[in-house]
Amino acid sequence: MQETKMQQAEQAHELASALADGELQGAEFTQALLALESSPEAQSRWHSYHLVGDVMRAGAGAAVSAHDAEFVARLRLRLHQEEGRPQPEARLGLGVVSSSANDSVWRWKLVAGLSSLAVVAVLGWQLAVPSPQAVQMAVSGPTPVQPQTSVAQTNAEPPVMIRDPRLDQLITAHQQLGGTSALQMPAGFLRNATFERPSR
């Protein structure tokens, strides 16, 4: 029994992960949505993955807090719904919730607790790991990349700076075939896959 639960949780985890990575199609996609609808664990995972993704992309920007606020609002609503159910103790006005009735509430609190733990962990990690933007700024700060004007021209005729899409196409072709460099394998391929020539 315990094992089956663990398996289910593991499966929900996998599905949420795959869905967040955008790698599910067709039937798998439908299955993942169903799992997401029915499993709080999957929902929590889904949220965490998105939060991590948002943090990775945007830093601790507005997108993250908006997303988070939405999640908290949903969570509150669900908690409210759970608490709003008629409970014998509540009707008696005892104010003490017995273990059987508060089971689901406790579960939600656990989910909430885990979620906030995940948020704290993610934010903590975000503080520890500089965001791409911060690093971009750091990179552009101390070691500015010089616009290329400094290379000595041996030719007497002054160079004409040209930019046309045909040329860009050939430069791309060069980069695709230009893997004949020893630096290409560790770094060059990644560089070319990352760098997009600025559009005009």
Binding site: P130, V145, Q146, T149, I162, D164, M185, E196
Partner: protein, 343 residues
């Protein structure tokens, strides 16, 4: 794994006490190893550096954020890398500019453009060349570049050895490479001009070494072209001799690596003849001149990449030459001047 002998409690306590005493000698030992590795770092040849960097990418799995700054522009991507000794896989998701996902399995590359719903599938033979390339051109690399260690620095949270590759002539650029101390992985790379100014920089801003990356998952994602129009560039292998061209005057250090015919936007095939000195590469594109498509001659430079466009007369025909490479403009001039029509 050796079987642990069973230990009695008093022995365990004794062992624990011994272990706590062992911590200090262990740290001292690490210091000694560090000093030894620095000696090794000083003595490594260029080929050894490059091989170590290549081995690192062949053996390690990692996830990281790569930032490229070139010619005043900046781009970044999220990178997943995994290998099982035989196969190498990579996923590169652009975080800036047009959304783009690039997948690589050894020399197979698929680039997904979600906005245009086009996936370009290609085989990049050159990617499979390494490290064989080192065995054939290492003499050329050693001949044209010198390597000098420049101490160490922290990049993306990792201690890295810095090595500078300085060109011995003005036909190529220099490089400064940050190689993670423990694994050798390239974590930062700068291309430098003759004044030592940074033309281009590629660096991890964040890196998770030995990260859990699933090769199966990447394989599935790479193969999932559902909803995409799959295109493959029609490259035809040829030889310069068959096309009627030769390089009468060789450019020192550069060897011909490959020659293809590839279709261009104008509808006429272009010849692409690629050269490399082991670190930098140059492509020479040759097309028949067409005034409707070919406009202005000149030079373009963006970061370390230079392009030279020239109209030349040869064998009674007007040709349109485009030379592209991560080399100084004068190297491209040398190529354009050395080119000769054989018929």
């Amino acid at each position: 794994m050796p079987r642990m002998p069973t230990l009695s409690w008093p022995r365990l306590i004794l062992l624990a006490a011994l272990l706590s005493g062992l911590v200090l000698p262990a740290v001292a030992d690490q210091g000694a190893t560090g000093a030894a590795s620095q000696v090794v770092a000083r003595e490594r040849s260029i080929s050894e550096w490059l091989l170590r960097m290549h081995e690192a990418s062949r053996r390690r799995a990692y996830i990281g954020t790569l930032v490229v700054s070139s010619g005043g522009s900046m781009a970044s991507a999220r990178v997943w890398h995994v290998c099982d000794g035989e196969q190498q896989m990579e996923r590169v998701e652009s975080l800036t500019g047009t959304p783009r996902s690039t997948f690589r399995r050894n020399d197979e590359v698929v680039t997904f453009s979600p906005l245009s719903r086009v996936a370009v599938a290609e085989k990049r033979e050159a990617l499979g060349l390494f490290p064989h390339l080192l065995k054939t051109v290492d003499a050329a690399i050693e001949q044209h570049y010198g390597a000098s260690p420049q101490g160490s620095e922290r990049v993306a949270g990792f201690e890295a050895d810095i090595v500078q590759l300085t060109p011995r002539d003005s036909l190529r650029f220099g490089y400064r490479i940050w190689s993670e101390k423990r694994t050798g992985l390239v974590v930062k790379l700068q291309t430098l001009d003759d004044q030592g100014r940074v033309l281009e920089q590629v660096a991890f801003s964040e890196l998770q070494l030995d990260a859990p990356v699933s090769m199966d998952k990447l394989n599935r994602m790479m193969g999932n072209t559902e909803g995409y129009k799959v295109e493959s560039p029609a490259l035809v292998k040829t030889t310069p001799a068959a096309e009627g061209w030769r390089l009468a005057q060789e450019v020192p250090g550069f060897r011909a690596m490959s020659c293809y015919r590839r279709p261009t936007a104008s509808g006429v095939d272009a010849l692409q003849w690629a050269f490399s000195d082991g670190l930098a590469s140059v492509s020479v594109f040759i097309e028949v001149y067409d005034p409707r498509h070919h406009g202005q001659e000149g030079l373009q430079a963006l970061g370390a990449t230079h392009a030279l466009v020239r109209r030349v007369m040869a064998g009674g025909t007007s040709w349109w030459l485009t030379l592209v490479g991560e080399v100084p403009a004068q190297t491209l001039q040398a190529f354009s001047q050395g080119l000769e029509r054989t018929r």
